[in-house]
Symmetry: C2
Amino acid sequence: MKTIYFDIYENLRDRIEAGEFAYQSLIPSETMLAREYQCSHNTLRKALEVLKLHGYVQPIQGKGVRVIWQPDRQARFVLGDIESFREAAERNGIEASTKVRSFETITADDAVASLTGFRTGDLLYHVERIRFLDGKALIYDINYFLASAVPGLSPAIVESSIYDYLEGVLGVRITTSKRSIGVEHVTNADRDALDLLDYTMVAVVTNHTFNDDGIMFETTFSRHRPDYFTFHDTAVRGY
Amino acid sequence: MKTIYFDIYENLRDRIEAGEFAYQSLIPSETMLAREYQCSHNTLRKALEVLKLHGYVQPIQGKGVRVIWQPDRQARFVLGDIESFREAAERNGIEASTKVRSFETITADDAVASLTGFRTGDLLYHVERIRFLDGKALIYDINYFLASAVPGLSPAIVESSIYDYLEGVLGVRITTSKRSIGVEHVTNADRDALDLLDYTMVAVVTNHTFNDDGIMFETTFSRHRPDYFTFHDTAVRGY
DNA sequence: GCCGATTTGTCCGTATGTATC
DNA sequence: CGATACATACGGACAAATCGG
């Protein structure tokens, strides 16, 4: 990254993950680190802020900054911050592939508008994809894209990586994403799309994504087979 | 709150929720707001930072700060940041009560240590409680507290509010909390504890809570009946 | 396409407050 | 009480992005 504080954040994060700063230990003080990285006190604090938000450390007033990160123990499919399916699969070291189930252009009626949060009359791309992990159909993705914000979307693009197209070709930057997670009964479509075994419920992640204009341009429902679904989160008091 | 930036954050949040700043509109610029609140540029930015992290606004470089908050449409039991069951119930306007199912002191063996993340040999309080919403047994909470960090815990305290005891009596401040969410098959204990109807799976929230010493002092498994479970989250790129 | 005004983003230095030991 | 460490706040400077003329 180009900014100083982000470089420092990455470096400190790597040092924690490498074990240089052990779980439960205190890292060097802000003034020491600012001297080491040749930056100002405020810039170093900004780096610590990001470390804290990611659950690596916990600053304690008057004492120091304690490491609270420890390696994950489970090896399931873990959702992180804002990242694509492919990124998540790579990070989890899982072989992944995608199959497009349907691709169509629709105009939002009242039902779709209420379901997705778009406005009635909006022109949308409706995409359904099946995600394979380790050769098994485990995630059923139902996307709605605002056509005006994602011009030129095509089945071929959807087949590879939508986010590469958004970020690379269109120059859209994804900044904010609101998620909610629930558990629902399987539908006939789920049974059709997924290798469900005898599961009768799926974990559903609903995702509203905003582009750098602050426009919600994507609503996605990701329907996961329960045994491959895990979601992680770090909450910080006051934030 | 006592700090300036938090006061400003709360005020701006209220103005957004009251509709003074509409969804998708741009709020006044940082310089204007800094003048209005009689504070420095940086202090106002700190307030905006918190607003952003809570999913109220999205700053766009060169353009302004866009409101992306809109009122929740669902009326289920919504989990927020770090908050107690009672706080969440009140915020959701639901009548809630709690029944203690068991209370015991144990020494962590290898199995418990692996399950909870505590160390083998740690002295723990093991508490099981059933949460009632609208008169129905919907959440089955299994807590493990590190005894050395929560001295004097008793069934009577557990019956009312553990967090009032921690914060009020012991002066512990809860700062960081790591969560993961999964879906599991119901156990016999689930069937015994909850009004499960014909559900065969439960949503499980695993919570590791850290006190202000950076010590993990609580591990909780909250097992929810699926139809009453929803989890919300806002992710921001780069953080 | 360029330029200048506006707006957010980053960085610095400093001062003061508050908690811990 | 003093030393140390994190937390808050201020003011100033410049960079980067956007938009309109």
